[in-house]
Symmetry: C2
């Protein structure tokens, strides 16, 4: 593995391969792979188009923006991506985040894309991907579970055919319940039917095994039909609903709320607008930049996708590749940066489609190429060019059903019970994130990350101390001694009835403040005529760790040659290496 | 030791003693102690009065506010304080902090006292004193060293007799150097003479031993005179300079910049003003509250006082008491709260006077009683009542010399070398704090605390891993596994040529994210037909730690009875306890 600190090798072939993962699989690409890729790409495409329309609705943007956002990610990810079954595109959670910043104004959303692309690219280039490590699983779970509820409920208004419901969750619940009498029968019936159909097809899909090659042709054909309709269920349901709406339109009555007119053709390739003078004044730039921060968690989500899916499906993970976070940031950053030129709103690794991709057995990121190149050429561009007049007839209730079915699996009720069994303290960040996300998603994430960070710091400040009295007081810190624990160690030891043995077997590093604390403890004990004995000392396991014997105040007594020898020779001292300090 | 969680004992005598430490020493108070206390109190008083005047100048307030701030702390600390040689009063560093918030307007300073009193009291009552643990020694050192330079340079303008120099450090340096030609000869000569005198007397003091009782009377008397003049050197120098200025005034010429008129008498006891409409509008309340945060570090300083002094004097600490941070917060909070009613500006544990107190051998916090009760009655009140007309004649250059001599020892150049030898990583927060404090003190502290916190988190995210290949890959994490380290562990292990042994001897807790990471690692290895073995497992050393065998995905295989027995019986497993997970 080539670490970040090898300047001589940064232009070697492995390094270039690392930056352009396409070079890893392209030379090995075969016809069999192509076949699989085409199937996967087409399947994903049929899932993506209706979802793209629906997610744009979640983001509060005109539906065509969902399509504008869908193709750039695939081109870029195909070249730069590391995960073979992740596709970049609009996602439910990103749409929710975007909705709070760019509600109803695409110009803001596009500028947001540009800026978050810059932030991600900078993070990737500066190798700040490790920051994503600080988003813990409970935070991601709390966030996705809350988002699942928020997004689902957000769509209830569309199923009921209500207009002008506010965006904030609690107000939305209140307004929806208050105005439930205004429900439009057509929308409600259609929405519920679509929900039923999607759930049924989804259940059929998961019940379906793989078709064996040995079976008779008619079985294989019917299997194929069922499999296709179950996999492309989103497209199927939306298509049926649209045809129904069109029939009603032809008959002169329209019981459904429709998507409405969509401009035809591809978006123009142009630089995003950096200032737009609206009747409310110009867009506050600072607010846009804020989003860069809120985006990272969504990244975390995309990184956690395999992990989340795994625990979701209670099965085994299907992938054994490494997602390299810095490389992912580069790919996403570039996608967003370029996407902002084609009026895309911010995209991220897709949760739902990732699962589809994996199920159809994509071998390389060219699954992205198909959903990008082929589907973008064949499906997205096709739909933008020819289907916009059809999109007019798509009932909003059908799109709402698509979204609800897409986000419901993200809610994970079992996590509460799991954490209660495994690690109760982790329930704190989970609950904080979960509850605050209903107020405002980004506050929930930030609060969750802060809370889990504080719990980490608390663990450092109050390390587990095993205290036992065997003639002497034996204190064994459970982890390294850092400055927040310095006073705690002293408080644990004193007042002491006798001499103190500090068992340092788990202490791998000590910082200056802790050394001073030990020196104070030593002086305190000496005043009472007691001794402080250190045992189980380790040699510094990495350079820069504190070498205790170097510190003038903690010089080793000459008679404890054994530990000193150990320390100075660099040999690891055994558990018997005991040392008194004067 | 009575922990925080013992509700039944909160009204017992030890608990009351803990809240009112006066009850600990008052019953044992003797005449011999009283004698020592009176000497110490009077000595401290003679140091305090000139310093109080000088510090008010640092805070940018009229000099009488220094005196107003000096007596409340002593009364309160005498009842509530835990450290016997700490006195509460205006300090150089707090004056510097106050100066940036309440420059030239006492009303702001008094309101600030009230608010920070409330914050401290709340922190003390909520037992948030442990937050002070997160201010590490390098941050305190960087902060005090920078403050020492800032405050010293701040006084150079007074020694040179320059007027209208800006407050910001860099502007101040620029302005002072630019206008060095405007130096007033009288001020410069007086200031430098005072500096010389103070330095000389200080050196004499540290060279002086204790008077032995067996020596002849005249030796003892002369010793006493030298000791008194060396100890009360601040008062002596200010007195001489004042008399000199008075003589010049009588002769009709005045070469010195004088302190000027001071209102006579004690401040009125009144509620602090909560709003003051100035020509610039009302005071921004948010800005005031901000200070509550900036105050904590100054608290940290007071807590670190014995520690800092110790490393300063390269000797042994003279005290063996515990400073209980929550109790200290209560004492300081009450002092500030009550102080705001007598126009005090925020006070904190005094660094310089603490040393004086310790040197004269104070036995109990009644040293505070003397400096509070007696000195406040005899010295501060006396000076406020009768000496204000004398204060008119105190040259500013003399006060500047007092300040410079008080803060110079706070600069600790040796810390850079010490940290280089002991723990190089600690140089980062030190340098960040040190450098940013020149820009604005509170930014420096906040940045230092953040940087040291981030270094802590980084230590958790990248724990030391001992990797050795002995047929199998043996990985031994140096500390507990928390969520930021989950991915790092996987990256360390894979790609692996063979089976993996995870030596958990130093792992005392594992959180849910890390458990998921291990599960993923296990699946990854199983796909390659490899095994993951855990050895050296510990029982959870505190409740709430992760019990691995509870987690459904990490069930112990029935054949590894030894580790399971160990885990389930609650016995600590020996280093040989090895366990395979399926």
């Amino acid at each position: 593995m080539s670490g970040p600190g090898c300047p001589t090798r940064c232009c070697s072939f492995p390094a270039v391969q690392k930056r352009l993962p396409v070079l890893r699989w392209l030379p090995r690409y075969s016809l069999a792979w192509l076949q699989l890729d085409v199937i996967a790409g087409a399947t994903v495409g049929l899932t993506v188009v209706p979802q793209a329309l629906a997610y744009a609705e979640v983001a509060g943007l005109p539906v065509q923006y969902g399509l504008y956002s869908s193709f750039m990610g695939c081109f870029v990810y195909c070249l730069l991506g590391t995960a073979k079954d992740v596709t970049l595109g609009p996602t439910a959670i990103m749409s929710l985040l975007v909705s709070s910043y760019a509600f109803h104004d695409p110009v803001y959303a596009v500028l947001l894309t540009f800026l978050s692309g810059c932030v991600q690219l900078a993070m990737g280039l500066l190798r700040l991907g490790f920051l994503l490590d600080f988003i813990s699983c409970p935070v991601i779970k709390g966030f996705t579970s809350a988002a699942s509820i928020t997004i689902s409920f957000n769509q209830v208004k569309n199923i009921l055919g209500l207009q002008g419901v506010p965006r904030q969750f609690f107000l939305q619940v209140y307004e929806t319940l208050r105005r439930i009498g205004e429900t439009r029968a057509g929308d409600a019936v259609l929405g519920l039917s679509c929900l039923l159909a999607l759930t049924g097809l989804g259940a059929m899909k998961s019940g379906l095994g793989r078709a064996a090659g040995a079976e008779p042709l008619c079985t294989r054909v019917s299997y194929c039909i069922v499999w296709t309709s179950a996999t492309a269920r989103n497209a199927l349901v939306v298509l049926c609903a649209g045809l129904l709406a069109y029939s009603f339109q032809v008959m002169g009555c329209q019981p459904f709320t429709l998507t409405g007119r969509i401009p035809r053709g591809l978006p123009a390739f142009r630089v995003p607008l950096f200032s737009k003078v609206t009747h409310n004044g110009t867009v506050p730039f600072s607010r846009m930049v804020q989003v860069g921060a809120a985006r990272s968690p969504a990244q975390g989500e995309s990184r956690a996708t395999p992990r989340a899916r795994e625990s979701l499906e209670k099965g085994q993970p299907r992938n054994d590749y490494r997602i390299e976070p810095n490389q992912e940031l580069l790919a996403m950053g570039l996608t967003n940066l370029l996407g902002s030129f084609v009026s895309s709103y911010p995209v991220t690794g897709s949760f739902g489609r990732t699962a589809v991709n994996a199920q159809t057995g994509v071998c390389t990121p060219a699954g992205g190429l198909i959903t990008g190149g082929h589907r973008a050429g064949a499906l997205v561009l096709l739909s933008l060019a020819f289907l916009t007049s059809f999109f007019y007839y798509i009932p909003k209730a059908a799109l709402a059903a698509v979204i609800i079915c897409a986000v419901t699996p993200m809610f994970d009720a079992a996590i509460f019970r799991t954490l209660w069994r495994v690690k109760r303290l982790d329930l704190v960040p989970l609950c904080v994130t979960f509850l605050l996300c209903f107020w405002e998603v980004q506050y929930g994430i930030v609060a969750g990350v802060l809370v889990s960070g504080l719990l980490l710091l608390y663990a450092i400040a109050r390390p587990p101390m095993k205290v036992s009295t065997q003639g002497e007081l034996v204190v064994q810190p459970g982890s390294s001694l850092h400055f927040p624990a310095a006073e705690y160690l002293r408080d644990t030891v004193s007042p002491t009835p006798g001499s103190v043995v500090l068992d340092c077997r788990h202490v791998s590093s000590v910082d200056y403040t802790a050394v001073l604390g030990l020196a104070e403890l030593l002086h305190e004990l000496r005043k009472q005529g007691l001794a402080l004995t250190l045992c189980g000392l380790q040699v510094p396991s990495r350079p820069g760790s504190c070498c205790w014997h170097r510190h003038r105040r903690l010089l080793w007594r000459p008679n404890c040659t054994r530990a000193t020898q150990h320390l100075e020779s660099g040999l690891p001292p055994g558990p018997a290496a005991t040392c008194c300090i004067s």
